[in-house]
Amino acid sequence: MSTPDKEPAVGPADKTAAGPEGVAVDPAVATTDGPDRGTERDDSFLQNFLHNLWAANTVTVTVLSMVLALVIGAVLIILSDPDVLATYSYITARPSDAFSASWTLVSEAYANLFKGAIVDPAAVTGWLAGENGWQAVFAPLSETLTYAAPLVFTGLAVALAFRGGLFNIGAQGQAIIGTLTAAVAGFVFPLPVGVHLIVALLAGALGGALWGFIPGLLKARTGAHEVITTIMLNYTAGLFLGWVILQPGVHDPGRSDAISKPVDSSAQLPALLGGGLRVNLGIVLAVVVTVGVAWLLNRSAFGFELRAVGANPDAARTAGISVTRTYVLLMVMAGGLSGLGGATQVLGTAHTLTSQVAGNIGFDGLLVALLGRTRPWGVFLAALLFGALRAGGNRMQSFSGISLELVTVVQALIVIFIAAPALVKAMFRLRAARAARLQTSVSKGW
């Protein structure tokens, strides 16, 4: 798992790092600050660490959520395997059969998940022995990063809007329009290498921004709830893409099915490592954009305004911040980010438009944003985790015959547990964390 192995108990150094972000969603990492500090001043670091380890802080809840999700996934794997299930019919007579069969099945599946996502030990020994190239060693990581890159963008799009008090369910539609405009710019304009890629990426961002502008404007001008409008725009975008693909000039004349012409090679995101590995410039862009969003959110004037609006729109209005302007700008930015995610998808891996080109990156982005607690670097790590699950899921499917859908189940379960920290807390009898505010949701309905 590519989660932060950060210790839950941290000193003042970490506190200052997390300081400016504490407006909308608190870094629920327990700190040694606060009114009750005096009583525990004499505790050693180790005692403090152990005390906080089993408390309901962000890191513990996140890790336990993943464990729970994987355990439920394991139960599903066992329940859906008739051979193993048969050993349970005589479990009272010979329990070892049932347990060993289940263990073999599940451990093999999850081992493949790991080998497909991080590294395959066999490939490493093979490389050291000179039996295979270095590519096989890095192939799993390459896949993980490839799947993670678009999710970083869509996750940031949801997280950014969330911090401003807007619930951007529309990342999917914005990403779809992003794939559309980026791909069209990618095969229509005859531009030199370099410029073409930038133009295509910008086109993707612009398309997404336009699709984000609509709900932003409707929210600001008419009060139409962004959840409803963005859900409707998601499906409108999908249908629109389906129509555009079939139009002359876009549709690949050599194919009878609904597929567009391929993006020119000058507009494709170049591979980072070469050697047949798919990881491309998209993940580097994702890091750059994460830095940018973190700066925007925590250091810029607009970031302050949007956090103020997100925390309390009435107070922000009283303080002279234009709430409507913030909403529109915020949705344009979120749409632009999602559009970039779609552009990364089509310019980086897919290279042609199909009706499913955007996959599920928008809705996955929503989960990623929640898992990352709507903080930029949290979103980045969450996207890496989801990318890893997806990459590993591919191997699990082909090697263990466990459907990729299990990954969807595990991802959904992780987020359910993350969103209901009280549930996890009750299940594991966790201590209440000091200074912890485990609320990812805004709960304001429509």
């Binding site: 599903l76 859906s80 395997d81 619930f167 369910i169 409707l218 600001a220 001008r221 008419t222 009060g223 139409a224 709830h225 959840v227 409803i228 409008t229 859900i231 409707m232 725009l233 998601n234 499906y235 409108t236 249908l239 629109f240 389906g242 129509w243 729109p313 009435d314 709430v323 409507t324 809705f363 929503l366 989960l367 929640l370 466990i402 459907s403 859908e405 299990l406 990954v407 969807t408 189940v409 595990v410 991802q411 959904a412 379960l413 987020v415 359910i416 969103a419 209901a420 009280a422 549930l423 990812t440 949701s441 805004v442 709960s443 304001k444 309905g445 429509w446």
Partner: protein
């Protein structure tokens, strides 16, 4: 709506402006009517459009010259818009709205059908069939949301219902056992929704989306592990029979559509009436509305807020699960991965477009079903109008309605807000 908007404020300052909502709608209708009369009239060939009263080209038919019809109905739309612009009494507004939309659709049809034929019975049957899950899904939404719980998980309830019906229906070789397990499938998602939203205070929109993904993954996983390898044992449910009501089924056009059809249609029609009556006239309905609009007040007079909400969310699960059974027991006869493909969200759109009322949701669902059917019909006759745009209609209509461009939609005041006692 949770935020004060510019328009709300403006309403307070200037309550009687000339451009009321009705007048704006009227202006839009006039523009649409002129467009219809000019554009559709110009494009339509001067040939006869036949609307046959049967399932095919045969039999009696309503005939009209396509060009003449397109212009005539376009002018009718203008008339409805002009009446709204002139400012008629409030009670006529919704009638004029309906008339305007109907005339516009007819104008469009005259253009498309000119020189061809449109089988009315087939169209009506198809519309109703496509609308059926939407009606049930939207009714499930009404039950949940009128009590104050946002239900975005209709899609997930559909999927679980469809899956349960296929799996258990095949194993038990019975349609009715299948229907019951579809209901159980819907209730499982509803139970998760209720417990996590009310006990663990998870944001209900987030929860709905995540539950949809959970249902998608779960049914997809089990489909690939169980159903795909052994379709005969797990994925060949018996189909729902059609029930013919003697006498009524012999009425032309209406008879075969409404009274010679599958039991889910009767269920849906009965539920529309029952829920509509129940919400307006019974103790349960009053409590539901009270809990959805002002839970604190309801709590003060001794209504059990959470109990009412639990009941309604679970009832919603029952209805949506039955709607899911449509996909496997009526429509296709086997389960497939993600087979509902967004129908739950169209049901949500119908719920919103129908202003959170059972009857409104019913008509909205019918309208969306008709738009879908029309898209299939138009692509079959080789119309230049792309089917994707007609399929967008439910979403765009809802967008327009929510933005307050036509009429006004308002969610129950406490919709989506968890109730914390004390």
């Amino acid at each position: 709506m949770s935020t004060v908007t510019v328009e709300d404020l403006a309403d307070v300052v200037a309550p009687r402006r000339f451009w009321t909502r009705e007048r704006k709608t009227g202006a839009v209708f006039v523009a649409l009517g002129v467009l219809a009369a000019a554009l559709f009239g110009a494009l339509a060939p001067a040939e006869t459009a036949r609307f046959t009263l049967s399932e095919d080209a045969s039999g009696a038919a309503l005939k009209i010259n396509g060009q003449f019809g397109a212009i005539l109905f376009g002018i009718a739309t203008v008339g409805a818009g002009a009446a709204l612009l002139a400012g008629v009494a409030r009670r006529w507004t919704s009638w004029l709205l309906g008339l305007g939309i109907l005339a516009f659709v007819l104008s469009f049809l005259c253009w498309q059908v000119a020189g061809k034929f449109m089988p009315l019975v087939d169209t009506a049957e198809g519309s109703l069939e496509l609308a059926l899950p939407l009606i049930l899904g939207a009714l499930a939404g009404v039950l949940c949301e009128r009590s104050g719980v946002v239900n975005v998980a209709i899609e997930g309830q559909f999927l679980m219902g469809a899956f349960g019906a296929a799996l258990v229906g095949t194993m038990a070789a019975s349609v009715w056992v299948g229907l019951i397990s579809a209901v159980i499938g819907g209730v499982i998602i509803a139970l998760l929704l209720a417990v996590l939203a009310m006990r663990y205070l998870v944001d209900q929109v987030v929860l709905g989306i995540v539950l949809n993904l959970l249902a998608l993954g779960l049914t997809g996983f089990l489909y690939e592990r169980l159903m795909q390898p052994q379709a005969a044992t797990y994925n060949e449910p018996p189909r729902m029979p059609t029930w013919r009501i003697p006498g009524l089924a012999d009425i032309p056009v209406v008879g075969p559509v409404l009274f010679d059809t599958n039991p889910l249609v009767y269920l849906a029609l009965i539920l529309v009436v029952v829920i509509s009556f129940g919400l307006a006239r019974t103790r349960w309905g009053l409590r539901t509305r009270a809990v959805g609009e002002h839970p604190t007040a309801a709590d003060t007079v001794g209504i059990r807020v959470k109990g009412t909400r639990y009941l309604n969310v679970l009832l919603g699960g029952v209805v949506a699960g039955a709607g899911g059974a449509f996909f496997t027991l009526v429509s296709t006869g086997s389960f497939n991965k993600n087979m509902t493909s967004g129908a739950g969200f169209i049901a949500l759109a119908a719920l919103i477009f129908g202003r959170w009322t059972p009857v409104g949701a019913f008509f909205a669902a019918l309208f969306f079903g008709f738009a879908n059917k029309l898209a299939t019909y138009l692509s079959a006759i080789g119309s230049p109008v792309p089917s994707q745009f007609l399929n967008m209609l439910p979403y765009l209509a809802t967008l327009v309605a929510v933005a307050g461009l036509v009429g006004r939609v308002r969610a129950p005041a406490a919709d989506g807000k968890p109730f914390i006692k004390g």
